[in-house]
Symmetry: C2
Subunit: 448 residues, 2 copies
């Protein structure tokens, strides 16, 4: 008789852990409690379903519940909500179909995810006002567009969800306005990226309003208007995308410690302060590879990787969950924008560094080769050590070049070492000096 590994939440972290643990130790009883019906789905693909680039919502499901149950031998129970954890007794209480029962565990993983923040806007409960954080919401937005043929959409929040939804709804034929209370969109990407993205959004016909807090929404049952400080704007559909917050209630009530970011504190193996209780994914902290501090980066790769590592640990091979560089990439109409590590000098100073930075614009191919596009690259470094701290890129082509920066960050490289990298060159792919190398070359000069 094997041990029992109980997992709370059936998305990226939970299902990665379940699959890996069961594969590595088939004697383990692996039970996943998921309160909803969807498991293991690509939340990042939802805007592209609304856009119409993905035909079927089911296409976003990586592995179906049946496959988990039958092929991977995971005891997956959808419609089951874990309502409390008793870390002393090593038991969880589960509610399903109005009944409660207790389930003992030897190992527990909390993978409860995050939820979309809903500010206390007037009229947030009107029909036609949506957040987009789960599959049912994506489906509901799609249905609403089909059913009511809205002409105008208002998007509240200029983060990546807001920008992806602007593109999606523009593609669906709506006239889109976007409201950001801060001076710039994509705040975690830094100003040099924001400037390029903002110009592009306007070129694409988005009515972009920066420094513009929204007060609420109004309409007769169904949303008709966005209320601003100084007036109202028509909106037949509203998407609220102002960020996410970790789902920590269950952990907190069980006495499990949260970290400085407000997410569940974990060590390098994903362990919480309670014995044999792990946490991973959007509800948990990860260690930032640049600062060494706890960070909350609710992104898919971090969740998948940590879940998989914890599954391996539970199956008997202790495995570190790995750090995060906060690497992110977003498509904004025809642009790609990406960031990793620390993207500006203010952020670097807050983290205790003495920063220098540079922003350059360089082509992604030689000037003579067809299809060369400008890429704007920002790199940030520490003056004293010469160490690279992070950077950003934005352009119509080549945003995945951020991976070179992310790799250099994990290795703790100096700017001089980055300048010396032997990156790939041929005219169809890059100029002799890749834009990342050019930026490092200029920054290196500034550090002397």
């Amino acid at each position: 008789m094997g041990e029992t590994f109980v997992i709370v939440g059936g998305d990226a972290a939970g299902m990665s852990a379940a699959s890996k643990a069961k594969r590595d130790d088939p004697d383990l009883d692996v039970i996943v409690f998921e309160k909803g019906e969807w498991v293991s789905y690509a939340a990042c693909g939802m805007p592209y379903y609304v856009k119409g680039a993905v035909d079927d919502l089911d296409d976003l499901v990586a592995v179906t519940p049946e496959e988990f149950r039958e092929e991977r031998d995971v005891d997956l129970r959808t419609g089951h909500e874990v309502v409390s954890i008793d870390p002393e007794a090593k038991v969880v209480t589960v509610e399903a179909d109005g009944e409660r029962f207790e389930q003992p565990y030897d190992h527990l993983l909390i993978g409860t995810g995050a939820h979309a923040i809903e500010p206390p806007f007037d009229g947030i409960d009107l029909d036609g006002v949506f957040t987009i954080h789960d599959m049912d919401e994506a489906d509901a937005i799609d249905d609403y567009v089909d059913a009511h043929d809205p002409e105008t959409a208002a998007i509240v929040g200029g983060g990546y969800v807001g920008i992806e939804m602007a593109e999606a709804l523009d593609e669906r034929g709506l006239s889109v306005s976007l409201y950001e209370m801060l001076p710039h969109v994509l705040q975690p990407f830094g100003d040099p990226v924001a400037g390029v993205v903002e110009d592009h959004l306007r070129e694409q016909g988005v009515d972009l309003r920066l420094d513009t807090p929204v007060e609420g929404f109004s309409g007769d049952g169904r949303v008709e208007r966005v209320e601003l400080e100084d007036g109202t704007v028509p909106a037949d559909l509203v998407i609220v995308g102002v960020g996410v917050a970790p789902n920590t209630d269950l952990a907190e009530e069980a006495g499990i410690e949260l970290g400085p970011t407000g997410a569940i504190a974990t060590d390098e193996y994903g362990r919480t302060n309670a014995p044999d209780v792990y946490a991973a994914g959007d509800c948990a902290e990860a260690t930032n590879v640049v600062t060494g501090d706890p960070d909350h980066v609710p992104l898919a790769l971090t969740a998948n990787r940590a879940g998989r590592a914890i599954g391996q640990t539970v199956a008997g091979e202790p495995t570190r969950v790995g750090g995060t560089a906060g690497t992110a990439i977003v498509k904004a109409f025809d642009l790609g924008a990406a960031r990793t590590g620390i993207v500006d000098e203010d952020e670097a100073r807050e983290a205790g560094f003495d920063p220098a930075s540079v922003t350059i614009t360089a082509p992604t191919r030689p000037h003579y080769y067809p299809g060369a596009e400008d890429l704007r690259v920002t790199l940030v470094a520490d003056r004293e050590s010469g160490r690279l701290l992070g950077g950003s890129v934005v352009g119509r082509d080549g945003a995945k070049r951020i991976d070179t920066v992310a790799t250099a960050l994990s290795a703790g490289m100096t700017v001089d070492e980055v300048e010396s990298l032997d990156l790939a060159y041929a005219p169809p792919f890059s100029p002799v000096w890749d834009p990342i190398l050019t930026a490092a070359k200029v920054l290196s000069g500034n550090l002397d």
Copy 2:
């Protein structure tokens, strides 16, 4: 009165050194002797000129002779051939317009480049048989196609020049055959890349003949046929692209040491064994970052970087030239293929490692996102240390992902460290697990 920096050869290494030295130390007299008329040109762009993707040969010139002379204050003398070096007297002998003169130097850079190897094929001097290593040759091929309207082209050699020229001449409407004496094309890229490229070349209509040595060419003044061991094949145009060899005669005659690869031996600052004599670019060795051994990688970035570093050193700030990972990328019709470091187990064993390797095929985007393409990734590692030694990629999209591998190599990362990299994910750009991460994950499992 400043010191005199004499440079032999006006291409990537030489002109990078000249520009950097003069900018950093304007008192320096910088004299460049170039025996031809073209300087600072993108040799890698020549196939795209023949293809018709680049309109004008002059577009491939990065900086014109006039700009070097007038804006950068470099004493550039084209049509000037350095015929000997006397390292004891610190003087070079120069020939121009049939006259000889001596030019003393304080610092000397040998940037004589490489030349296309011309095997002793019968009929290699026939009209219509070309190598493609300099701008005049590119121009001559283009003129020949215009003037003679050839229907068939034979390419001898399946390296990157041969493959780029196959694409170029196919685009010009010729029926192309390609002869490779080895069992596979693109030998330095390894068999997993070669297999994919060979299938693609055949799909594109190239008559690909592997294991097929060419004996010579025949025709009446102008080439008409390729002669093989077992017959002849019609060819109205022939490109011989069987590799390059470093131009070392000048250095050897001056008593300057060559290294094990046959190119000029240099130290980490690009210095030869003669005092104040440097060498850089296609004529010189560089240090391989994986093996630590001298290597000969006649590619543009290595030349540009070493030239620039030597210019900086001569101007008073000693600067290392940097190593090479042997990173290379090539377009083969609709494919991109790239390599870095050590690409297969045989090569790893020869370098003294105990290798493990893996080849996987993974999509460059999630399955549900439009435009996902397969990328084949090979990674090679050392079993004992777990260190990544190199790899290759090939596919219709994403070949620049080799830069992640090249960066990891320079950092000396283990496969586990590569598996932990926080690379960028969003559906338009990558699956959650980038193909490089997937390959590292599988290889890591094999190393256990």
